[in-house]
């Protein structure tokens, strides 16, 4: 059987799974909506992958990233758990080792990663506001009754993008409504939204960063051609979108799992058929002191695998 390396990226909006061959070539990818159920989504995704390639590929290493990375690492038996910033940087430089700027926009976060000579030298990630993210576009798309997939092609047809305030997603919406009521056409408004998002991104996470080409644009939002175009215009430099832009985090952590499992000599991967295992979490409030920590207990079938949430560490398994 051929060897494969699994990467799982569980974010707030989507759950991405990839399997790479030992040379880093993508064998299969799955892009699923998380819908607030990370455990079931991963079980489902793994099952699908197992059905499709489980016969000819043996998983030799597995890694997790994204906001649910620790939880999911317990479920699949990951060899490495890594934050999504590092994972994205590794994936981008595996495609172009000269890359110096990475723009990554996901469902609820946006980040910029500055690299020099293949090393991350600076990064920023939005903290208290989601204005420059995919959710912003999602909101406006549903407001305009346009499927988000078609957003980009509309924007490309625009002749005179309308200026829309992008500081705050809520006020952008009222600004957009006013422009609609003044009779601007939809294409120009959509292009204006793309420009607003780019402005917001540059003012928010891009502020004070030294942006040099090559620039790579990844994350689910890179599907939007209008936005890619808006970035090109704003930065006045070429912006590259990698082939598998939507699953770059998963690719990055799959690449890292290759080294991690080689170092360990074996993989902890539990197999594709974890659907039959029941994973369960329960929680209780610790009465040990005034902190009243909410302790979460994680069970695989009836076996207690881990506890977390306690500040003092007394509940650790």
């Amino acid at each position: 059987m051929k060897k494969g390396y699994l990467g799982v990226d569980v974010g707030s909006v989507s759950t991405n799974l990839v399997v790479l061959d030992p040379d880093g070539k993508l064998l299969i990818k799955k892009y699923l909506r998380t819908n607030g159920k990370p455990i079931q989504t991963v079980q489902e995704g793994l099952y699908q992958i197992g059905q499709e390639i489980g016969e000819e590929i043996e998983i030799a290493g597995a890694g997790t990233t994204g906001s649910a990375r620790y939880l999911i690492s317990l479920i699949i038996g990951a060899d490495i758990v890594k934050n999504e910033i590092t994972a994205h940087a590794i994936a981008a430089s595996s495609i172009d080792n000269e890359v110096r700027t990475i723009v990554e926009i996901g469902g609820q976060d946006s980040k910029i990663i500055i690299m020099r000579d293949g090393v991350v030298t600076d990064f920023a990630m939005n903290t208290v506001c989601a204005a420059g993210t995919g959710s912003f576009l999602d909101q406006q798309a549903s407001r305009l009754l346009i499927p988000i997939e078609d957003f980009g092609s509309y924007a490309l047809k625009a002749k005179n993008p309308v200026r829309i305030a992008g500081r705050c997603a809520v006020f952008a919406e009222s600004d957009m409504i006013h422009k609609q009521q003044l009779g601007y056409n939809t294409e120009d408004i959509i292009a204006g939204l793309c420009e607003a998002l780019v402005r917001n991104y540059m003012n928010n996470v891009g502020k004070g960063k030294e942006i040099l080409p090559p620039v790579m644009f990844q994350g689910g939002v890179a599907a939007n051609q209008g936005l890619v175009e808006a970035f090109r215009r704003y930065l006045d430099m070429p912006v590259e979108v990698p082939e598998h832009y939507g699953v770059m985090g998963a690719i990055g952590v799959a690449l890292m799992s290759r080294d991690a499992s080689r170092r360990k000599g074996a993989t902890g991967f539990k197999g594709f058929n974890i659907q039959e295992i029941s994973f369960k979490t329960t929680s209780f409030e610790c009465k040990g002191c005034s902190n009243a920590c909410e302790v979460v207990q994680f069970y695989e079938n009836s076996e207690l695998l881990a506890r977390w949430g306690d500040r003092c560490g007394k509940w650790e398994v």
Binding site: S67, K82, N83, E84, I85, T86, D117, V119, V120, T121, D122, F123, A124, M125, T127, V128, K207, G208, K209, S290, N291, A292, R311, C312, G313, K314, E316
Partner: protein, 370 residues
């Protein structure tokens, strides 16, 4: 009277002792929790910063517990926080809470006000001036001891073998300071407390990264406001130092005026206009941490804090000039720890890779010399 005060890190142990020994009953402020935040957010102006909201919440909680007087600090406006107590007093009155806020201004700024307020605390407690001076001396000794053992705990945590051992030893050490009742007892307890910390099993072969924590005083000092960042980093194997300690801060703004030094350091970047709050400090401290060989700096800023926003926009230049990476984290109502953890982990990766590259470069340079 039933007296309380703001919760800032572990200093509450010293202030509890102070209140109890000035003839008052102490209402110990609870550690800021989700409920504190809920209360604070509900009764504060929307655009106020998180320190304002957290303090508002704390004051309402202690009022509920029966506090009649809250002792806090004023200060001649490092930023608008110096005037927060006035707003808090208005809001408490509006909410029908019969609590009086007594804000001690720095003595150098208004000596008469300072003495008058101390007299009020003394008279209502029924103690003599001599007793008060003694109480203040012991309290000061406690503040220093608490700061010092906390500082030491952040030094040894990255070496701990069992996760959480340092934190447990630290609490034990705090209890020892808490039990002391005179200057000598505090000093003795302090020496014993250090032994308890040093007894934590450590792996000295590690070479932890060193990170300086800078920013606005409240979010830097109150662990529950910054997701217990120093403990989090320590358990990730990073040694942390922070720019502000209460004993250092109080000393600098009251009796010794040492801040002049910091302004000289910050001056190349602030020639045009000085900035308030801890903004100038943040710039100077980044320079100083770089000079002292730190691997990076984390800036903590309350969302909408103008001094820190100004500092943030200057820090990229400082970071380039002094070759030290800076991570800025804005702090607001969010209580989810995952986001902060992600950024810190990525920052640690960044610093580790930098260290590797630097070491490689220096070995190459050494070979070339030979």
């Amino acid at each position: 009277m039933k007296v309380s005060f703001p919760h800032m890190g572990y200093s509450y142990l010293a202030f509890k002792w102070m209140v109890e020994h000035t003839g008052h009953e102490c209402i110990v402020p609870p550690e800021p929790s989700k409920r504190t935040l809920d209360l604070g957010v509900r009764h504060s102006p929307e655009f106020a910063c998180i320190p304002f909201k957290m303090l508002m919440g704390t004051y309402l909680e202690v009022a509920e517990m029966g506090a009649e007087m809250i002792i806090t600090s004023g200060s001649n406006g490092p930023c608008r926080a110096g005037l927060y107590w006035v707003m808090h007093q208005y809001l408490l009155e509006e909410l029908g809470q019969p609590v009086k806020i007594v804000a001690l201004e720095p003595p150098l700024c208004d000596m008469r006000d300072f003495i008058g307020k101390l007299r009020l605390i003394r008279k209502t407690g029924g103690i003599s001036t001599k007793q008060l001076i003694w109480v203040l001396q012991v309290t000061w000794e406690k503040v220093k001891a608490i700061d010092e053992i906390e500082r030491h705990s952040h030094e040894i945590r990255p070496y701990e073998i069992g996760k959480g051992d340092t934190t447990r030893a630290f609490w034990q050490a705090l209890e020892m300071i808490d039990a002391a009742n005179s200057i000598n007892e505090v000093r003795l307890a302090y020496r014993e407390a250090l032994k308890v910390l040093d007894a934590v099993p450590q792996d000295n072969s590690r070479n932890p990264l060193k990170v300086g924590i800078i920013g606005e005083i409240y979010v830097v000092l109150e662990p529950s406001a910054n997701h217990y960042m120093q403990i989090m980093l320590g358990e990730m194997g990073v040694q942390t130092d922070r720019s502000i300690y209460l004993s250092g801060y109080t000393k600098k703004t009251t009796i010794y005026d040492l801040e002049g030094d910091l302004y000289t350091v910050a001056q190349p970047y602030l020639n045009e206009a000085p900035i308030g709050g801890h903004g100038a400090n943040s710039i100077a401290e980044t320079v100083l941490y770089s000079r002292h060989g730190y691997d990076g700096v984390v800036q903590l800023a309350p969302f909408s804090c103008i001094p820190e926003i100004v500092a943030k926009s200057i820090l990229p230049t400082v970071s380039r000039d002094h070759d030290i990476p800076v991570l800025t984290l804005f702090i607001d109502e969010q209580t989810g720890k995952a986001g902060v953890q992600t950024r810190l982990e990525a920052f640690v990766d960044l610093m580790e890779r930098r260290r590797e590259v630097k070491q490689k470069q220096s070995t190459i340079a050494r070979r070339l010399v030979i």
